[in-house]
C-alpha cells in the first residue's frame, strides 16, 4: 500500500490530531472526541453556527475550512465514510452560539441519515437547525433530477459564502437562504486519471488503463459519464466546461467564480494549463471570471485528476465570497 501511515484504522484520527497540533491557531479537537474539529474559540456567541462533515480523505475539505469567516465545527468519519450521528451532534453543539446552526454538507445518503439523526438529537436540546445540501456534480444526475446530484468541490465556495454571511450577522434563515443560493448556483465536473487507496481497504478504488481517463467520476471513485482515451489538456478542459455551461446557460456579461481543483496527485502546473483554456472559453463567451482559484481545495487523497467548478455570482454572493476569512488552507 503506497501510503504513509501507521495503521489504517487510526488514519483519520492521526490526521486530525496532526492538523490540530500543527495549526492550533485554527483548529481544536472538541473535548473527548477524536473526530470533531472546531474553531478554538467556538462557539461564537451571537453568531449563526455552520457545521459540515463527511468522510475523511478530502483535505482541505472538510476540516481545513474551519475558521473565522468559514465553518465553526466539523465532524469527520473514516476515509470516505460518514461520521456518526453522535459526532455530528457534538459538532452542532460546539457550533451553537445561541442563534442556531446550519448543517451544510454533501448530498450523500449516509451523511444525510446521520445529520438528520443528529438534528433529532440536538433539537431535543433546543438547538435550532437548518440544512443545505451540496449537490454540484453535474455528472451525477441530469438537471431535472438535481436533488440526486453528489456534492463535490462546489462546497468550497459554498462554505466560504455561508461563513461570510454568518460572520456578517445574518440570522439562521438568512444564512440558510444565502447558502442555498450558493449551493444552487455551483456546478462541477471532474475527471479522474488515477485512483487512490482507502487505507482500510488497502487497494485502489478503481483501475484505469495507462492512457485512459474517466470524465465525471465521483470523488470516491463513483462511475462517471464517459471513460475514454486520455485527452489533451484543452480537450479535458472542454469536457469539463461544456456540460457545466449547458447546465447553467449563462447570459453574456455574467460574472462567475471558477475553481480548478486537483483531486490530489495532479500537480498545480497542470491545473494552470487547464485554466488557460477555461479562461479562453469563458472570455469568448463574454463571461467574466471575477474570482479564480487554482489549486488543491477538495481532494481525494492521492487520486489523480482535476475538477472544475463554476459559480455564477450576483453582488451578494460575490461580496461574501471575497470577504476575509481565515484558515490554514485559504488565501484570498
Amino acid at each position: 500500500m503506497k501510503k504513509i501511515l501507521n495503521d489504517p484504522y487510526t488514519y483519520a484520527d492521526e490526521t486530525l490530531t496532526g492538523l490540530c497540533r500543527a495549526y492550533p491557531q485554527f483548529y481544536a479537537l472538541a473535548p473527548e472526541t477524536t473526530r470533531v474539529i472546531t474553531r478554538p474559540d467556538a462557539p461564537v456567541a451571537g453568531k449563526v453556527g455552520i457545521v459540515s462533515g463527511g468522510g475523511s480523505g478530502h483535505l482541505p475539505v472538510f476540516t481545513g475550512y474551519v475558521g473565522p469567516g468559514f465553518l465553526d465545527a466539523v465532524a469527520c468519519g473514516d476515509v470516505f465514510a460518514s461520521p456518526s450521528a453522535d459526532e455530528m451532534a457534538t459538532a452542532i453543539r460546539a457550533a451553537n452560539g445561541g442563534k442556531g446552526v446550519l448543517r451544510l454538507y454533501g448530498n450523500y445518503g449516509g451523511d444525510i441519515m446521520n445529520f438528520d439523526m443528529a438534528g433529532d438529537i440536538v433539537e431535543m436540546e433546543d438547538i435550532e437547525v437548518t440544512t443545505v445540501l451540496l449537490a454540484d456534480d453535474v455528472a451525477s444526475a441530469p438537471l431535472d433530477e438535481r436533488e440526486k446530484r453528489r456534492g463535490v468541490a462546489g462546497m468550497v465556495f459554498t462554505f466560504k459564502i455561508a461563513g461570510a454571511a454568518a460572520d456578517a450577522g445574518l440570522d439562521l434563515a438568512e444564512v440558510t437562504r444565502v447558502a442555498q443560493k450558493a449551493a444552487d448556483g455551483c456546478r462541477s465536473m471532474g475527471v479522474a486519471l488515477g485512483p487512490c487507496i482507502v487505507p482500510q481497504a488497502g487497494r485502489p478504488t478503481f483501475t484505469l488503463g495507462d492512457d485512459e481517463m474517466e470524465i465525471g467520476m465521483g470523488i470516491h471513485g463513483e462511475p462517471g459519464v464517459k471513460r475514454g482515451k486520455l485527452g489533451t489538456a484543452d480537450e479535458i478542459a472542454d469536457a469539463l466546461l461544456d456540460p457545466i455551461l449547458d447546465d447553467l446557460s449563462l447570459e453574456a456579461g455574467a460574472k462567475v467564480a471558477v475553481l480548478v481543483n486537483s483531486l490530489g496527485a495532479t500537480p498545480v502546473e497542470e491545473l494552470f494549463i487547464l485554466y488557460n483554456r477555461i479562461a479562453d472559453r469563458l472570455d469568448a463567451a463574454g463571461t467574466e471570471i471575477v474570482f479564480p482559484l487554482v489549486g488543491r481545495y477538495a481532494c481525494s487523497m492521492e487520486m489523480a485528476g482535476a475538477s472544475l467548478t463554476v459559480l455564477p455570482l450576483d453582488d451578494e454572493l460575490q461580496g461574501y465570497l471575497t470577504a476575509p476569512a481565515d484558515c490554514a488552507f485559504w488565501k484570498v
Binding site: A81, S82, S84, G110, M113, N114, D116, M117, P223
Partner: protein, 200 residues
C-alpha cells in the same frame, strides 16, 4: 416463553454476532460490488459493540433497546448502521416501560420500524432496499403469535422479497449509481437482513 424479554434480546445479539463473525466477508464483498464494501464490517462492529453491552442491558425493554441504539450509533455510521440504530430507537419507544412484549405485537412493531427507516432514509418501499425485505418479513409474520412460526414466516418473506427484487435495479443509496449493474444482483442490505434472520 410468552413474549419478548431482555433475555430474547441477549440471545439474538449472541446468535447474530456468531453468524456475522463468519458471514461478514460475504456481505462486504457483495456491498463492494455495488458500493463501498463496508456492510459486513459495519454489522460486525455493531454487533460486537452490542455484545459488550449485552450483559448489562436493563430489564426495561425501552431502555434496553435505547442502549442498543446508542451502542450501534457509536461504532457505525454507514447507512445500514444508522438504519439499524433507527430501528432500535423505534423499538425502544414501543418497549418503553415493558419488561415483556407480546410476540403478537412484533409484526406491528416491524411495520413501524419500516416507516421510521423510510423517514430516516428519505426512501420508500419498492426501491430495492432493506425496507422491502423488512416489510415483507413483517407482513409474512402477521397473525403468528409464537416466535418460531413467526421467524419462519419472516424468513420466507425475506426470501420472496429477494426473489421479487433481484432483477430490478437499485433505486437509492450508493448502489443507485450502479443501477444497471445491480439488475440480477441481490441488494446487500436485504441479504444482510436474511443473514440476521437466519441466525436467530
Amino acid at each position: 416463553m410468552a413474549g419478548m424479554t431482555r433475555a430474547s434480546l441477549d440471545h439474538a445479539i449472541s446468535a447474530v454476532l456468531a453468524t456475522l463473525e463468519t458471514e461478514h466477508e460475504g456481505l462486504t464483498a457483495l456491498d463492494g460490488k455495488l458500493g463501498d464494501g463496508d456492510l459486513g464490517i459495519t454489522l460486525l462492529k455493531a454487533f460486537r459493540q452490542l455484545d459488550t453491552i449485552r450483559p448489562d442491558l436493563p430489564e426495561d425493554l425501552g431502555q434496553a433497546f435505547m442502549q442498543c441504539a446508542q451502542g450501534v450509533m457509536k461504532v457505525s455510521s454507514s447507512s445500514f448502521g444508522t438504519l439499524l440504530a433507527t430501528g432500535l430507537m423505534t423499538a425502544a419507544k414501543t418497549g418503553k416501560g415493558w419488561t415483556e412484549l407480546d410476540w403478537a405485537e412484533v409484526p406491528d412493531l416491524l411495520h413501524r420500524v419500516v416507516e421510521a427507516l423510510a423517514a430516516r432514509g428519505r426512501s420508500a418501499l419498492g426501491q430495492k432496499t432493506v425496507l422491502d425485505a423488512l416489510d415483507a418479513a413483517a407482513t409474512a409474520a402477521e397473525g403468528k403469535d409464537s416466535p418460531r412460526p413467526m421467524l419462519q414466516a419472516a424468513r420466507e418473506g425475506i426470501d420472496s422479497a429477494l426473489d421479487t427484487y433481484r432483477d430490478k435495479p437499485n433505486q437509492i443509496g450508493r448502489a443507485r449509481v450502479y443501477a444497471e449493474r445491480s439488475v440480477g444482483m441481490d441488494d446487500p442490505g436485504m441479504v444482510a437482513l436474511k443473514v440476521m434472520a437466519g441466525a436467530l
